[in-house]
Amino acid sequence: MSNNQADYMIEFAKVNKWYGHFHVLRDIDLQVRRGERIVICGPSGSGKSTLIRCINRLESHQKGKLTVDNLELSDDVKVLHEVRRKVGMVFQQFNLFPHLTVLENLTLAPIQVNKLSKVEAEERAMEQLQRVQIAEQAYKYPLQLSGGQQQRVAIARTLCLTPQVLLFDEPTSALDPEMIKEVLDVMTELAEQGITMLCVTHEMGFAKSVADRVIFMDQGQIVEENNPHDFFNRPRNERTQAFLAKILTH
């Protein structure tokens, strides 16, 4: 492990992706260190979702090299399975399983994928529910919960698989304003515990206080990356400046 790749949790090397003729990711180069917290922002349609969905191969890239914990993503199903065990994902629309109770949502994958016993899986699930402060909702169905509660369940669900990387795709965009904070609080707490995080969000307050690095994307390219302080106070690229001007005036 002397080779310096080992230091990176995720590494994009000249990654390209097309949807038909549409070039959605262009020569993406990005290295993410273990435990690093990255916020990705950019205008709608710039490829942010596509970028992070390539990491657990919900989308496949067509050119370039993408490695997660030194495993190169390809059509190899075994590798894919390995990677998905390491990488958890939280979606904008929560994507809880509506036919299962909250507790069953949390225990399903540990039982099926990690082959835990039901008792053990439920024990762990309750721990995670306590961590996101909704243990008392364990036996309800997802649609009986508020949006903020559902998103916290979704976070707890991925945590039950003890992932090394967490991907968030606009986790607060579908929430009413009064619920955003409860979800951001949970995410902040996670960030403090050293888990590698990539988060697509326009919550600039969160980015400032939590991120190690902010990445700005436009038209399928990473246009600018910097630490949050410099990113917000001294953006170099004019597209970043225009974007920030728009967002921060809200």
Binding site: N56, L58, H81, R84, R85, V87, G88, M89, F91, Q93, N95, L96, F97, P98, H99, T101, L108, A109, Q112, V113, Y141, L143, Q144, R157, T158, L161
Partner: protein
């Protein structure tokens, strides 16, 4: 009550007139039906009496006289306790299979066990039971056997076909599509004809597959294609996010289908599935044309050869119609119950 009547039936002159007209018509029809079916009807198995009452009253005597043949077809008379017992067993199992609590692996084992017992009872040839070949099976036992095995066989086939049509693999997708479209393009009768007359021509000389088995397979293949389309409708209603969440949690294809996608997809199409089961149940009446005497066929057997009773075939038909109705109505009540079950815990 009175206000309801006034608001809905007599709210103006025109509507009042229609209400009176239709009401009179309804009363007239009911009194005719009552007169023919009940008050002037003959209830005993007496052909003389039936003959005198002809035109004025129904002859339910035909049912009293012929019910053993109608229910059991050509099955040897003295041995009819065997199909009776076999059918009761199978129906008990069907009822048990309706209860969610029993959906455990042992239920599948029980099915195998009951089917073996069913076959031994019906066919005999062991344990001192005289052999009764399948061409002598008939009536209600045959109807229930065909219907339940068609449904049990068609369901997994349909799930696989539906998944196949939604698959990412082009070869599997086109195979399933071609299959479904081919089967849907022909009537059941022609599939049955093929199974019973055409298929044997392609078999090596000297080998033969029981006609009942061939017809059963034909019915499964046919019902499966229709049911597959119902289930596919359910699959299409599942949002993409469910697949993505399942995939991101590392579930394999079959885990995802079995635990996430199918339970939701099937729940959304319960009415369609039950509809399919009911029509499959009634489709069994078509196997008469390939000389299997299920309920409808055994009615023909019972009266066609007996000139005394032939005039009262209509009453016989009404009798078996009532049997069909009891089964189909139970199925549809069950369907409503299932719907209520699956919608528990949902808030929309």
């Amino acid at each position: 009550m009175v206000t309801w009547l006034r608001a809905n039936l007599f709210n103006n002159v025109f509507n009042s007139a229609i209400t009176v007209l239709l009401g009179t018509l309804l009363l007239y029809v009911l009194s005719q039906v009552w007169g023919w079916g009940i008050s002037h009807a003959v209830w005993v198995a007496d052909a003389e009496q039936c003959n005198t009452a002809r035109g004025a009253g129904a002859c339910w005597g035909v049912v009293a006289e012929k019910y053993r043949i109608i229910i059991f077809g050509r099955y040897p008379f003295e041995a009819q306790w065997r199909p009776l017992l076999a059918t009761l067993l199978l129906m008990a199992l069907l009822l048990a299979s309706c209860v969610r609590l029993f959906w455990k692996p042992w239920l599948a084992a029980l099915w195998v066990g009951v089917l073996v017992v069913f076959f031994i009872l019906m066919h005999g040839g062991v344990l001192g039971l005289a052999t009764v070949t399948t061409d002598q099976w008939g009536g209600l036992p045959l109807t229930i056997l065909l219907a339940s095995l068609s449904v049990v066989g068609a369901f997994p086939l349909a799930v696989l076909l539906a998944l196949g049509r939604m698959s990412d693999l082009p070869v599997i997708r086109s195979l399933c599509t071609v299959y479904v479209e081919l089967i849907r393009g022909v009537p059941l009768i022609s599939v049955l004809f093929m199974a019973s007359f055409l298929f044997p021509l392609f078999m090596p000389v000297g080998t033969s597959i029981d006609v009942l088995l061939r017809v059963l397979v034909a019915m499964i293949l046919f019902a499966g294609a229709y049911l597959a389309e119902v289930i596919r409708g359910g699959l299409q209603a599942i949002p993409r996010g469910q697949y993505e969440a399942a995939a991101s949690l590392g579930l394999t294809y079959w885990q995802m289908q079995g635990k996430i996608i199918l339970p939701q997809a099937l729940a959304t199409v319960v009415p369609g599935i039950m509809n399919n089961f009911i029509s499959t149940f009634k489709d069994t009446s078509l196997v008469t044309i390939v000389s299997l005497y299920e309920l409808t066929g055994s009615l023909d057997l019972a009266v066609n050869s007996d000139p005394d009773w032939l005039p009262y075939k209509l009453e016989g038909y009404l009798f078996i119609a009532a049997i069909y109705f009891v089964f189909c109505f139970s199925l549809s009540r069950y369907s409503q119950w299932v719907e209520r079950q699956v919608s528990r815990g949902k808030v929309h």
